[in-house]
Amino acid sequence: MEGNIAELGLGAGLAALGVGNVAGNFLAGALRNPSAAGGQTATLFIGMAFAEALGIFSFLVALLLMFAV
């Protein structure tokens, strides 16, 4: 049980790294060329969603381990 919860924390933390990476790189690019940044916010959110989804998958696996298995 504790192992499952540790896995969940690990997955969430690594997904946080991914989301932070997306946002940080977007900001770095946006500050270099602010005029092009506005048109790319959709891409930013799609990238964040993909990174975040993997963290949520770890949450789902933890839920499955807790309730379904």
């Binding site: 959709a42 969603a49 949520i56 998958f57 789902l60 839920l63 309730f67």
Partner: protein
């Protein structure tokens, strides 16, 4: 939840809020039982009707407050469809507008304390995602016939690599409804579970101030997540629709 900590024995049941209960009386929940899910879905639809039909009833050139909210939402989704999927996707705008407003209202209504979040159930989000998946696949095959399969053929890749990449693309295509639904369900369910955990901690006297401040912060974050997940779900629908309308890389 909070009243269950008696004598230092802290019991936090973060999953109790996701229970589907019949609205009238007791008993098992069947396919046609009117449950709390039905109630909050109906309230979401009612909210959308209030915003879009009653709010714009005046048809004023200078919009009232409620009319300008409805116009903002309409314009926002319309711009999204045109920007992401292209001008020829405007035909499918009603469907995408429906998805966005329904998910937005379900998420935001779920943030009302003691309410029920319909989008925190995989059954609801999987239905929405499967509907999008089937719609998009059917549109692709109706518009392009067999040449829709060129979606899986990456012409920019070297020739020997293409079969491998096509296999990966096919797997990715069928993983779409899974990730599409689990993303919304997971983000909402996880957020609400975290809120309930903080609410449980608030029952312990000496950490109650910290727990309530944490609760406030998580609640604000959840408000952002509610809007963001509706946006992400909709924009991914637009991306899938673009792939169906223009499958040639």
């Amino acid at each position: 939840m909070a009243d269950e900590s008696t004598g230092g024995g802290l019991t936090i049941k973060p999953m109790d809020q996701f229970l589907v209960k019949p609205l009238f009386g007791e008993g098992p929940v069947g396919l046609f039982t009117i449950s709390n899910v039905t109630l909050w879905m109906a309230l979401a639809v009612l909210g959308i009707v209030l915003m879009l039909v009653v709010g714009t009833r005046g048809r004023a050139v200078i919009p009232s407050r409620s009319q300008s909210v409805a116009e903002l939402v309409y314009g926002f989704v319309h711009n999204m469809v045109v920007d992401v999927s292209g001008k020829d996707a405007v035909k499918y705008f009603p469907y995408i507008m429906t998805l966005f407003t329904f998910i937005l209202f379900a998420n935001v209504l779920g943030l009302i304390p003691t309410s029920f979040t319909t989008t925190s159930h995989i059954a609801v989000t999987a239905t929405l995602a499967l509907a999008v998946f089937l719609t998009v696949t059917i549109i692709g095959f109706v518009k392009h016939g067999v040449s829709f399969l060129s979606l899986f053929c990456l012409t920019s890749a070297p020739l020997p690599l293409r079969p491998v990449l096509a296999g990966i693309e096919v797997i990715l295509y069928f993983a779409r409804p899974v990730s599409h639904s689990v993303r919304l369900f997971g983000a909402i369910a996880a957020g609400h579970a975290v809120m309930k955990v903080f609410a449980g901690f608030a029952a312990v006297t000496f950490i109650a101030p910290v727990a309530i401040l944490g609760m406030l912060a998580i609640y604000a974050l959840e408000f952002l997540v509610a809007a963001l997940q509706a946006y992400v779900f909709t924009i991914l629908t637009c991306v899938y629709l673009k792939d169906a309308l223009h499958p040639h890389h």
